[in-house]
């Protein structure tokens, strides 16, 4: 009865209950918005508890849905409260802009991500790219990131079709899918730190 899964599930459900309790007690809309994000995490944890490659595949859509709901609600909150958009400065890491450290660390993270491959690898590589971009300021060109993301998507779909119709080439498909999702997650995560919304110059 009390194997690893049940214990994990028990802990996750308790943390979800704590989150919901906090949500019920909080009355300020903004704080509730923050708390709801906290509550979302247990749902990802329940999926992660599966501990199989299926879980890895399922977390991604779950995460996307959660984040998009959060973004929609935040936008709604801004409109509802009549908050004006304020000019946003990039984080002040310019001090080390000329140093080589960010580049080296980023390269290391990206390389390590490639070695890991798959979802986790994408996350680490994305972290590297975010770090690089943050230390450079964000005058970078998004289209390149978008293109990489698009290509990786296509690669992923191709791998999917190989699985469907040419199962004998499964090894190649696995490699394609791994690279595809690595690039996809890396690209998406690197966008995360830089999207500050539309600037009205």
């Amino acid at each position: 009865m009390w194997n690893e899964y049940s214990v994990g599930l028990f802990i996750v459900l308790i943390s979800a209950a704590i989150g919901f309790l906090a949500l019920a007690r909080e009355t300020d809309d903004f704080h509730r918005l923050l708390l709801i994000d906290l509550v979302e995490i247990p749902s990802l944890a329940i999926i992660a508890l599966l501990g199989t490659d299926l879980a890895e595949a399922l977390i991604l859509p779950g995460l996307v849905v959660g984040i998009s709901e959060l973004l929609a609600l935040s936008q709604l909150y801004i409109v509802k409260e009549g908050l004006r958009s304020r000019p946003v400065k990039s984080p002040g890491i310019e001090v080390i802009e000329l140093a080589h450290a960010p580049l080296i660390i980023s390269v290391f993270l990206v390389a390590y991500g490639i070695v890991l491959s798959g979802f986790t690898g994408g996350g680490i590589a994305g972290l590297g790219v975010i770090f690089y971009i943050m230390s450079r300021g964000h005058s970078e060109r998004f289209e390149i990131v978008e293109m990489a993301s698009g290509i990786s998507w296509a690669v992923w779909i191709i791998a999917f079709f190989v699985f469907m119709f040419l199962p004998q080439y499964w090894y190649m498909a696995v490699m394609l899918a791994a690279v595809g999702i690595l690039l996809k997650v890396a690209a998406k995560m690197s966008l995360m730190g830089t999207m500050w919304g539309a600037h009205d110059e």
């Binding site: 599930l9 919901f20 509730r32 509550v39 979302e40 849905v65 709901e69």
Partner: protein, 218 residues
């Protein structure tokens, strides 16, 4: 139990993702389709309002950009409900349901009225909270049975999915898709734009009907 929604007319095994058609899912799908077409074809109505303290009647107009946005959201909502009606995969169902939740918020969020926006925000909070039991239930189905396909689950003579998991799924759907029923319905319906507002309640109803079938089948 296999004969909940009638005999299976067709099924499309697409990898692990199965789409299956029974008279029940087909009926719901067609209804979603008809209403989506109605949304595409119709323009919003102008609500009449009586001004207090003056002998005057005004109509609430819906602006063009607002209308475009809400129509887009309503169509997306229709597509999501169509997907949720036909899918034969528990996780897919959960995804489509949460998509319906987001689009439902979107449909009313664009209305320029503080009351409506407040209601939409509260609904959004409930919908997000609903994702926990919803995705949790889908994951637990996979954990307890090893599959997410409803057709596979329906083959078992007795139900293999624990009752608690089913209750979780229904709870999740109620939070995600059905929230307008208890959260903020009347306030949301103050919004003009009948074709779009109808899509909110239509999608909630369809999702609820489908989850009944899912719970009885698996």
């Amino acid at each position: 139990m296999s004969s909940v929604g009638g005999a299976t007319l067709a099924h499309l095994p697409f990898g692990d993702i199965v789409i299956y058609i029974t008279p029940f899912t087909l009926t719901l799908f067609l209804l979603a389709l008809v209403f989506t077409i109605l949304v595409i074809a119709s323009r919003p109505e102008r609500q009449l309002d009586i001004t207090f303290g003056a002998d005057r009647i005004i109509t609430k107009e819906t602006g063009l950009t607002e209308m475009r946005f809400r129509r887009f959201m309503a169509i997306a909502c229709g597509l999501a409900s169509m997907g949720a009606m036909l899918t034969g995969d528990v996780f897919d169902f959960a995804l489509f349901t949460s998509l319906v939740g987001i689009t439902n918020v979107g449909i009313v969020a664009a209305v320029k009225s503080r009351h409506v926006q407040n209601a939409a925000f509260q609904y959004g909070l409930v919908a997000m909270a609903g994702t926990v039991p919803l995705f949790g239930a889908a994951a637990m189905v996979a954990a307890t049975t090893g599959t997410l396909s409803m057709l596979e689950l329906a083959k078992e003579a007795t139900s293999v999915v624990p009752f608690a998991v089913k209750a979780f799924l229904v709870l999740g759907v109620m939070g995600e898709g059905m929230a307008p029923f208890y959260a903020a319905k009347a306030e949301m319906f103050r919004a003009p734009g009948a074709p779009y507002v109808i899509m909110c309640s239509l999608s909630s109803l369809l999702i609820f009907l489908r989850v009944i079938e899912v719970v009885l089948t698996v």
